[in-house]
Symmetry: C3
Subunit: 348 residues, 3 copies
């Protein structure tokens, strides 16, 4: 993996960590606490992995201050060890773009503008009016329809499809199977038959947006679907037409956002959360996994409707009762009234 080695002093500096130990210790790779070899750096991401610390063979460990006394080797101490690890691992295990150029099997429309510093791999198909900036890396078997624009250093890993007019900022990263710019689901009903509403908007991504495998982002109906800078989407997410996602919001796998919903900045949506259409979520809203959001949320905070699993027999006894809940509330109210009346009648 690694191209070269770095001293602990260098890694401490790039990550902003405090070094405990030998600044000249050479590190050439990363490994988990239990599998790292000498010459590798590891990290203690959570209390869960604490038992592996004592026996690690790593040359150094990235960890939070409370664990430094228990560290048997060199330590890089950081209040946010995951962040320090992210920065160090990116330095030790970079994935640089190979040489630029267009593979001879790619089919590129003569009206596309491909910067000579971009790389287009095998079996790509690139339409008219496409503009691809320097440092862009298009992996194999991607389709880029007419009039797309890709900003500097963006990457389509492989097998990505961009619909007409899709626009990516700089340093975007799109994983295989993702589809940006398919038609939104816009239909009018004509006496029982569906008539398609032309989908004329685009998908527009800011800088540093990441889109997971098989995630789909629909083009707008008239205006655009917009993901602002730093949005991170996991796999198999669906973003409907005309959705707007604020900067630095992250969504885990399986989330669905219905059309025209606007999500604020710095939100998180956990796995398989579902949002109805035409809602507004404030900045700093956090939605739990498998939660249905059916109304706008104006206050930051955590919102949940996850229903946790129970043994099937427990479920059988209790869940059928949900549809009798209103009746139960009325029965309890009647009891309260009866008891109050009985009390009133009592002589004492």
């Amino acid at each position: 993996m690694p191209d070269k080695a770095w001293t602990l002093a260098e890694l401490a500096e790039l990550s902003g960590a405090r070094l405990h130990g030998d600044p000249d210790c050479l590190i050439e790779g990363v490994g988990s606490l239990d599998e790292a070899r000498p010459g590798q750096i590891s990290f203690l991401a959570s209390r869960r992995f604490r038992p592996y610390l004592a026996d690690t063979r790593a040359s150094a460990v990235i960890l939070a201050p409370q664990f430094v006394d228990a560290c048997p080797c060199n330590a890089l101490v950081h209040d946010n060890p995951s962040l320090a690890y992210a920065l160090i691992a990116a330095r030790l295990c970079p994935e640089p773009m190979p040489a630029p150029g267009v593979h001879p099997s790619a089919v590129v429309d003569p009206d596309a503008e491909i910067d000579p510093g971009a790389r287009i791999e095998a079996h790509c198909t690139i339409g008219a009016g496409v503009r691809i900036a320097a440092g862009v890396w298009i992996g194999p078997n991607c389709v880029i329809a007419d009039d797309c624009e890709l900003g500097e250093d963006s990457r389509l890993v492989a097998s990505v499809t961009l619909g007409r007019g899709t626009r990516l900022g700089r340093r975007c990263l799109i994983h295989p199977g993702a589809v940006l710019g398919a038609d939104g689901f816009g239909l009018a009903n004509d006496q029982g038959r569906w008539v398609k509403i032309p989908q004329l908007g685009r998908v527009v991504l800011g800088d540093d947006v990441e889109v997971g495998a098989c995630t789909t982002i629909d083009r707008g109906a008239l205006k655009d679907t917009v993901l602002h800078d730093g949005v991170k989407l996991d796999n198999q997410i669906q973003i409907g037409h005309n959705v707007e996602v604020g900067a630095h919001t992250a969504m885990a796998s399986g989330v669905g956002v219905s059309g025209s919903t606007r999500i604020g900045a710095h939100c998180t949506l956990a796995g398989a959360a579902g949002l109805a259409g035409h809602l507004e979520l404030a900045d700093g809203v956090h939605i739990s996994g498998l939660t249905a959001v059916t109304r706008s949320i104006k206050e930051p905070g955590v919102y949940t409707s996850t229903v946790p699993a129970v043994p099937h027999a427990v479920w059988g006894r209790n869940f059928a009762r949900i549809k009798q809940l209103d009746e139960l509330f009325r029965r309890v109210k009647a009891l309260e009234k009866a008891l109050a009346e009985a009390d009133a009648k009592e002589p004492d």
Copy 2:
């Protein structure tokens, strides 16, 4: 966008709208109420956008009768403005197929029959026995396995995969990443090990079926999986083997339909609804978002089990109680009995 301009009189006629204003006004495109320019037509889709009407710069607006008095410009009045807009936008912003022909990079089996009026784009792979009718438009990087049939004017946008024997009617529209005709999930269990049951049926689509991005429709096990005329599927839907979907039924993103379930005509399934296998849904059934359908539904109507999000603290207090519901019902019953006995004992 537009190739030419149309008079308002022409647009009124094609959409069946009543014209208020200048019949000779020329329209050459569409725009939202707040962004439309002169020469464009806009529409008022819902009360939500009513505030933008007064200041629109559009040359005309499509709207419902109750808004006509508030319209500052020409108006096309229709009881179903979305439908009128759909028809007009399709006229103003058509997306016609470019010239027919087979791209030299496409790999077409010599035993495939491609009508000379069809278009096959770059990097497509087309198997033996495939039959493609006139007006069919296959975008780049599609795979069409042996023995598929595509009816007139159907379109695979790009990166679509059709398994062996898949059959599309006329005017079908399949979005990128969709997979029709993969194996159904059929397994027999042999003392703990799974043995694959060969999946020998096909996927058969009627006319005017639309299939969204990354939607999967499995081939039947023995008989076919069938979607009737006018069915509309959004993105990331899963249709299991041997499912039958009635005409003009629409499903939003993330719906899953398990094997052998039969859905009637003119149904709607909202986002992320899930249907168990071997069910029957009548015509005109509407399923809400994130709703689990575990039994057949014989009466038309709306069915729901969406659990709406609440602040996390409210959730923490209440949702754990669901698994004690049956106990609570029994406690209330005991109270009712005790109170009834107490009443009976009372002297008055």
Copy 3:
């Protein structure tokens, strides 16, 4: 479909079924009870199809012992008719790999090792260091990134993408649109901005693993994501980074498994079940459809939190009550206390 015919005696022997009827009867294909023709064999998979048995035109039917007396033709009797059918259908309707070889349109890195007994179809892109064993069948438009390894007789049907270093055992079957080895969703937060954690592990599949259409399996962050022998995944499943799935576990469509969760052997997860991260599920755990698993499960058994659909009016009355449940419990407790005090006061 069939290449040749088999006698019922031969089919009885290969499936372990008991033959009732003519051992020399020739069978050349399979069909459903209501559509089978003479010369075909059918099967009675469940009581649901019992009404079709009397009128079948099949030459033989595979069925369970209790139905043999009602069978109007030859019968193959087996305690597990689905298993017997699976074995017989595979024999009657095999899908053998066509001739090996590399299609001229495939782009294969010179440093890839392709066994001459493998088949690589059109528009595939295969990276450096890839090793492909004999009998492997790569359908059209697949991407296999650097350093992948595919064991004997594995098959990528079409349009499959394997990320760098993905390893498949023998006889794996991967359906179109599946993506194995995309980056896991690993992010560190730096004062509101997300910083990517490099994803350095791999995806490793055992033997006889099946992966459905548009299913995504993420590479590990440091260690590998591992699916053991005989795991069967339906379509549109998401497996997060560092997940481990035990042997012969099966998951239906739409399941999501969050990162670092470990699932035992011989489990089943029904459609759209969702598992939180960092959990452990014992062997033999069965999760119902649309169920949220938020804690580890140590005992085998069935676990459920499916909330079944009800008519919308019933839902409207009752589901809003869930968020008042804790209050209701306290009201009932107060009633119980009040009644107990009233009882204590009573003179009798």
